[in-house]
Amino acid sequence: MSKRIVINPLTRISGFMEIDVTVENNQVVDAKTKGNLFRGFEQMLIGRSPFDSVYFTQRICGICSAAHSMASSLALEDALKIVPMEQGKYLRDIIHCCEFLQNHIRHFYQYTAPDFVKIDQNSLFQADHDDFRLPPEINDRISRHYFESLTISRLAHQMLAVLGGKAPHNHGVFIGGITTQATAEKVVHLDSILQKISAFIDESMIPDVYDIARYYPEYFQLGRGYGNLLTYGSFNNYKELGTLYVDPLVLTAEGMQVFDESKIQEKIDYSYFTAMEDTYSPREAAPMPDMDKSDAYSWVKAPRYNGLPFEVGPLARLVLSGLYNNGISAMDRTIARALEAKKIAEIMKVLLQQIIPGIDVQKKYELPEAASGRGLVDTTRGALGHWLKVKDKKISFYQIITPSTWDFSTRDENGYYGTAEAALIGTPIQNPEKPAEIGRVLRSFDPCMSCATHVYTPGKQVKTIKVF
């Protein structure tokens, strides 16, 4: 017997998401993921000053705003032919580290933990399902950490503000690296907070995630997907330090290869968009919305690398860097996020040791009449790309492919599903009336629909429903 399950909203993510699955014999046989808000950043950016894109694009996302400031700064440096000083890069990357720490701690405790842990203190945490297996002492400990972690993630944002002015939506990341200069006082301030955060990750977060894994072992078998992994590189390409984390790499069934950006394409065969071609390079075209296109079933576009859908994010990076080889699954993704928090804290420590106080990396920048550039960077959720063009000193083109667009893409004309759709298909559902599994698998990707939905709009069927 076939049953349709619609979950809307999928809570405890950033932004709005609907999931529509078909279950047969207690197993998911079809899945569609939809983003449920649309703002149209690429259209808004046209005609603005190119410098403004750094602060403007941060407003795409509240939880990963620094990521967009990174990608837009890199795209502008590419367009303006500016090579930042190493000290500028270090400081900018330290700001980025702070965002990783904030995001991973909040995603694990505030977004993921309530799927597995019964938090009794507050009716807000009353769950829909009853699949809670942790023994009381572990459950109570992680519940306590839910609240304690807020102090820690807040400190991560405080570190970000020490160099970035404020968080969310920082002012520090910019062309050339960072706007301000490091001082001895700031470096010590950051180092002292970082020690507290590192201790929390080692003593609370990592033991907590492994305890959850121990009591929910079947999640090591669920939510695998295609197993294609991609990273644009992360904390790499330093002149003296080399690579602190991972180089640009991809992994498919054919093995590991060096990432080649010319192989990125976006597909719109099954999306409500039209362009000259249904497959195009992100620096060439920004397609126009078209709800009447035949065969289309969603507004979600489908980025592909070499024609294949890819998973991006902490697990992809850890596997590609050779630091993790347990497998690819919902639980591995969640574990990878905690382990990556530790790795990022270590990288930040190394970067802090390189800082020389008092170096001013800023200049008075001139805009060219015409230019184009791209910024590709791995951020908290994975590979983020900004592509821009400048004409008459204004932005004339802007294209953004976010990590959640990779993970939550639509299917394509070659018959591939989106990464998260593929991860859901085959998932056994114990109780279709109270499905705990769907949310757990989807949240393992850390979906950020605020980010992905700058290009998403609601699906076609809802357009025709008169609400009032």
Binding site: I7, N8, P9, T11, R12, S14, G15, F16, E18, N36, L37, F38, R39, Q43, M44, R48, S49, D52, Y55, F56, R59, I60, G62, I63, S65, R106, Q110, Y111, P114, N122, S123, L124, F125, Q126, A127, D128, F147, L150, S153, A161, V162, L163, G164, G165, K166, A167, N170, H171, G172, T179, T180, Q362, K363, K364, G439, P458, V462, K466, V467, F468
Partner: protein, 301 residues
């Protein structure tokens, strides 16, 4: 307003949110006042205000959640999902509640550009939820630039036809807390005031005077540079950022004294211009954010 509002002294100003919230908690503990229901609605935006609220320290957000209010609905935090979550939202309609809204209201396609959930098999739009809850709420807080006036969600050409909350609830009184994002103290201090003493005193645009009374420019630590005509030429300079496009002279809020994230820094402290994120009209009326040629020197002939 009978009495002129004086710019608060820095100490009073920084302490104001903390004092209010601590008093509220004490009175709640003694049973002198009742815990109120809070519905926190996220609409068309980046969910950056709820992330900023998690940074709250006066009091910390965990204390606020557990001791000040019964938070009945929050897309970012609640355990329930799908129609079970929306059911909890609907349940509050028959009770007394404070409504806090972040994000703009998208009007395009009858609101379908922002669907916040599904109810009885039909999509529930942000527009529908804002009207329904706004009509019933005993107090309304518009949180952040998108809710107060459309903000970045309504930036030109405004593809989703987003508007501020007041536009869809023209008759309702609401407290407006502009900012991109809101500072956690502005929200938590206002909430504490509401619980303790009712609505705080606001200006004619609905902004609480305890936070939004004074121009950034009037309390900027770099004001002496402005007065002497010493201006920064690039980011990173330590002088007045006016000629790089600083919007401090038109932005009314207490960033110079309150600062951000545990009071460690703020945009001007980071050697960048204020971009006017807490002023109505942000972002379009405040653009360009950074320009190296705002003013030019006219050579003597």
């Amino acid at each position: 307003m009978n009495q002129p509002i004086l710019p608060p002294e820095p100490l009073t100003n920084e302490a104001i949110a903390e004092r209010l919230t601590n008093t509220a908690i004490k009175q709640l503990d003694r049973g002198l006042i009742k815990k109120r229901n809070l519905v926190y609605l996220e609409l068309n935006g980046c969910s950056g205000n709820i992330i900023s609220l998690l940074n709250g320290e006066n009091p910390d957000i965990e204390y606020a959640l557990n001791s000040m209010v019964n938070l009945r609905y929050s897309n970012s935090l609640m355990a329930a999902e799908g129609e079970n979550a929306i059911e909890k939202l609907m349940d509050t309609l028959d009770e007394d509640f404070i409504l806090a809204v972040e994000g703009a209201v998208a009007l395009k396609n009858n609101g379908l550009y922002n669907i916040i959930g599904s109810w009885k098999g039909k999509p529930l739009t942000g527009l529908e939820a804002a009207k329904m809850l706004g009509e019933k709420a005993s107090s309304i807080l518009a949180v952040g630039a998108c809710a107060t006036h459309g903000g970045v969600s309504a930036a030109r050409p405004n593809p989703s036809e987003s508007v501020g909350l007041q536009t869809v609830l023209p008759e309702k009184k609401m407290i407006k807390l502009p900012g991109c994002p809101v500072h956690p103290d502005w929200f938590l201090g206002t909430l504490a005031h509401l619980i303790l003493y009712g609505e705080p005193e606001t200006d004619n645009l609905g902004r609480p005077l305890m936070f939004y009374s004074t121009l950034i420019h009037d309390r900027c630590p770099r004001r002496p540079f402005f007065d002497r005509g010493i201006f920064a030429e690039k980011l990173g300079d330590k002088t007045c950022l006016f000629k790089l496009g600083c919007r401090g002279p038109v932005t009314r809020v207490d960033c110079p004294t309150r600062q951000w994230n545990g009071h460690v820094n703020w945009p001007i402290g980071d050697d960048t211009p204020c971009i006017g994120c807490a002023q109505f009209g942000f972002p379009d009326a405040m653009a360009p954010f950074i320009s190296y040629d705002t003013t030019r020197v006219v050579k003597d002939e």
